[in-house]
């Protein structure tokens, strides 16, 4: 569906995705899975929509690796299926949003090669949901060195950034800085796309801002938990409701009370108020540290709740589409957490804390 006339394509697509969203695994089912053993969970997953991928891959993989790969493939396939039914404007915005998977895949391959992992192991964790398709990623995995991989990415839209940052890797010693720069570049590009006057761009821009805020807050709180008070502006992404200077200034505050006070004052999005108040009300340092640890998942839950709210306020816009894509991503994330947790014999409570429900 490429031509758009009036709002009907939007209504059609948003309804389809709303129905798909209803088919996602429910909270009660996750709770039931937590009480099951790994073979039972595998059987349960096999009975759902992941059956086709599991059947397809079962000749080459087995056990938990089979599950992991089937989940990743299913996610990529669901994303590509969504793209197929979107009308022009929405398709453009959704494709921009899905380009983040390219960064993740490229970095996974580079890191995997650096650590001399087997191609099969790297392949398991790739999610070919972006512009770089499965065949191209397979070709990259088959290459011998990272230099060759970077060279092969010449046509990629982030190639120039990748190339210049790749040269700095031996000096820096890790891919972390490269990752930050690539994501900053990615967000700058999608903000530009959203502001290009595209229909529905305002809603897309609101989503990007929310996404950047969540990422920045997650990073800020993670750094805070590690007790790091150095300059953090390199780790922050510009374009959110907080400025990079604001976030950087916040991290420099030593005193706990003052930090939360200032953070609360800088909040422009009301969705975060309850979250910050909860952190602020921690009575002991241990309690605060526990809440900070939980804050990563808590912020993701806030993001999903906010997306759900926005998709009700703007029922025929980019919001219901992105809400489905995000919820699908977290379904995969949850299933992985449960299967990996069960395999490692983690206690049920611990696995439950990792779940985004």
């Amino acid at each position: 569906m490429t031509a758009t006339f009036g709002p009907s394509p939007y209504i059609y697509v948003c309804t389809r995705l709303r129905v798909r969203k209803k088919k996602l695994i429910l909270r009660e089912e996750y709770m039931r899975m937590l009480h099951m053993g790994l073979p039972e969970i595998t059987r349960l997953i096999q009975e759902t929509e992941y059956k086709r991928e599991i059947d397809e891959l079962s000749t080459s993989f087995s056990g938990i690796n089979l599950l992991e790969l089937a989940l990743s493939w299913n996610l990529a396939k669901s994303y590509q299926n969504v793209l197929k039914i979107l009308p022009a404007g929405l398709k453009e915005m959704t494709s921009s949003y899905l380009r983040r998977w390219d960064i993740q895949n490229v970095l996974t391959i580079l890191r995997g090669k650096e650590q001399k992992l087997k191609p099969g192991r790297i392949k398991e964790v790739l999610i070919p949901a972006g512009e770089l398709d499965r065949t191209f990623l397979d070709r990259l995995i088959a290459m011998d060195s990272n230099d060759e991989i970077v060279e092969a990415l010449k046509g990629w839209r982030l190639f120039r950034t990748l190339e210049s940052e790749y040269q700095k890797v031996p000096e820096v010693g890790s891919f972390a800085q490269m990752e930050n720069v690539l994501y900053r570049q990615f967000y700058a590009e999608i903000i530009r796309d959203a502001e290009s006057g595209i229909k529905g761009g305002k809603e897309f821009l609101d989503f990007i801002q929310l996404d950047i805020d969540i990422r920045n807050l997650q990073n800020l709180l993670r750094i805070r938990l590690q007790g790091e008070r150095a300059e953090i502006s390199d780790y922050m992404i510009p374009g959110g409701s907080f400025t990079v200077e604001e976030l950087s200034g916040l991290n420099k505050i030593e005193e706990r009370g003052e930090f939360y006070e200032r953070l609360e004052k800088s909040l422009k999005n009301r969705a975060f108020i309850g979250f910050v108040e909860r952190l602020k009300s921690s009575e002991t340092k241990a309690e605060e540290e526990r809440r900070l640890e939980e804050s990563q998942v808590a912020l993701t839950r806030i993001q999903l709740a906010q997306m759900e709210r926005m998709s009700k306020m703007h029922p025929f816009s980019i919001w219901p589409i992105l809400a489905y894509l995000e919820l699908k991503k977290f379904e995969i994330y949850n299933l992985r957490a449960i299967t990996r947790g069960k395999e490692a014999n983690l206690p049920m409570e611990r696995i439950r804390n990792y779940l985004v429900i």
Binding site: S8, Y12, T15, R20
Partner: protein, 85 residues
Amino acid sequence: MAVENLTGLSVEMIEASQMGMTALAAAIAVGSTGIASAFAEYGIGSAAVGATAENKDVFGLVLLLTVIPETIVIFGLVVALLMLF
């Protein structure tokens, strides 16, 4: 001989004019309610096709929901018929 009123029109002419006006009113009643039904149905129809594409079991239900705005045009038709006969 036709009785003429102050405007110089005969009764037959006035009657014919009234008939024409009634027919025009009936046409407006059916036409405007038809447009209103179409406007209501295109949104419901798009959503119905979307829902059916994902879950074929809802076809019967969404078909019923799609034709509910047809009642608007039926009202228009009833009003038109009352005007004409």
